[in-house]
Symmetry: C2
């Protein structure tokens, strides 16, 4: 199959990649669209030492492996779990000890014509959600995870640090929940989205770092975001950490101790919440798609995704 | 007064330091004993840019400023607070925006003949607690803080990383609460304390880093402890951070995100709990005192405190 493969730190288009072989309980999905995420860019920089087909954000159509799902449009959770380890048995299967993760860890991803995943990972899409919007289900679920981990209500002062792909989804989700929200970003273009959505936003250089936010969500995708977050959060506040990067940066954790901050790592989230929000139009993602490339122009697509004038870059895996 | 002062990265004995002047509501305390803490050593390395008299762990006798307390033996909380800021008004006065902190921030410390502190900071000592043991009230309170922040019961698997001054206090407190406890240290001599107290302990090189502890308390006083802690804690576990150090070390926070770890910074704690535990003999500290020096030999005392064969080094501030 045609696929975009991580090779030597680059996304390389391969015409004849071995087609994925479904294991027991797995379905074969024809990929329709895939999205480029900050994690994909970090994978190419060495994060997780990943090799193989890239891509974990996608929408597709089931073509084999399940009579129930055959012909259906689906999105799919990315953690493929054993069901037997202590984590799986204690209800934390997304932390399965033996998991593979689509396009991230031990499993070829979705930037290809076809992908295999366990049937139980699939969620059928309502017709109202288009193929392109559906690509946002995975990162949007990750945004919904925040409210599952941290209590947030209409009095909570929340800052979202980062107005990129993920930051903008987090902003919309938290705005929907209702809280005293401020989005802090570096890129005027992406901050314009907040203005359109009537979400308070400010350039990072214009924000007073007065240690007075109850919750700060770090979604900059950069190690520097952590230190800015520490200057914005109040003592005993909660810092939600969303960014994963390949490199280690000099960091002093003393402020975490002094201010008794709670730092909460936050990864994958609930797909049903994300599907429901998109279907109901409570989150708007179409305008975030700034470019779509055919798979064979994957390298260009990644170059575009790294540019500050782009928000979400998609790959059309059906186009020649 | 005679005092031990942080000057150019060293503890310098000064014969005629200006005597402390009590503010409104403050008492003058004759210091009897003071303890050297890892924080004091970090202060000399530049932590908090501190200048002035060192020392925040002490026991003393009130000599002026309060009819109620005069002549009484006391220990005292180290945060001196405004009572008016948003933190004070919301019950988080130990995080007062305008606070000074004894021997740490904007206030001369207790390694001197006399020290001044607000009367409300003082706790009268029961006769059963000797002067030397009383020095442990402050760090012991910090150990009790952990159980105020993190739920721990008899089924919780807890690792205490670090068998130094603070680690040994944390170990005793958590052992008293009852949990599945393991102390992990580098120094065979300090690990012997655990053996004597019948607390499970192991050398750090002999510990399997299987990501299976529910709670890991990082009390090594070294930035390297954080990464070891991340290799011991289970997904969705809680890492309690106690160490404050002066320097920034390269650190990759990706494991916090991937494993959705909760990192809880933990600082000062409840004095009453510590006093009660010492009075009831539920925590044993006398054997942890490995050396006592007169104030004028303060520099030697600090040198000793940095050696691995020492646990707690005290200063006798009454001895010439």
């Amino acid at each position: 199959v045609k696929a975009l493969v991580a090779q030597g730190g680059r996304p390389v288009y391969v015409e004849e990649y071995p087609p994925p072989e479904p294991d027991d309980g797995e379905v074969v999905i024809q990929v329709l669209r895939a999205g480029i995420c900050a994690t994909d860019i970090e994978l190419l920089r060495g994060y997780m030492n990943f090799t193989g087909v890239l891509g974990h954000e996608f929408c597709g159509r089931v073509v084999a492996g399940s009579e129930t799902l055959k012909g259906k449009r689906v999105v799919a959770e990315i953690n493929c779990v054993c069901g037997r380890c202590d984590m799986c048995r204690s209800g934390l299967s997304s932390h399965c000890r033996d998991r593979t993760v689509l396009g991230i860890k031990g499993r070829d991803g979705a930037m290809a014509e076809h992908v295999c995943l366990p049937e139980r990972n699939c969620h059928v899409l309502p017709d109202r959600i288009g193929d392109e919007d559906a690509v946002f289900v995975e990162p949007l679920a990750a945004a919904f995870q925040i409210a599952k981990q941290v209590p947030i209500d209409e009095r909570t002062r929340v800052a979202v640090l980062g107005s990129g792909r993920l930051g903008l989804l987090v902003a919309q989700v938290l705005s929907g929940i209702g809280c005293q929200l401020l989005v802090v970003g570096r890129n005027p273009k992406t901050l314009e989205y907040c203005e359109r959505w009537r979400i308070n936003s400010r350039h990072v250089d214009d924000v007073e770092r007065g240690r007075d936010f109850d919750v700060v969500v770090e979604a900059t995708g950069s190690p520097a975001g952590f230190e800015i977050a520490l200057e914005m959060i109040r003592p005993r506040g909660t810092l939600v950490l969303k960014s994963t990067t390949a490199g280690a940066e000099p960091l002093n954790l003393a402020p975490v101790v002094i201010d008794e901050i709670v730092v909460v790592g936050s990864r994958c989230g609930p797909f049903p919440d994300a599907i429901e929000a998109l279907a109901a139009g409570r989150v708007e993602v179409s305008s975030m798609i700034t470019k779509t490339f055919p798979l064979r122009r994957g390298q260009e697509a990644f170059e575009a995704a790294e540019r500050p004038d782009q928000v979400k870059v998609l790959l059309d895996t059906t186009s020649p």
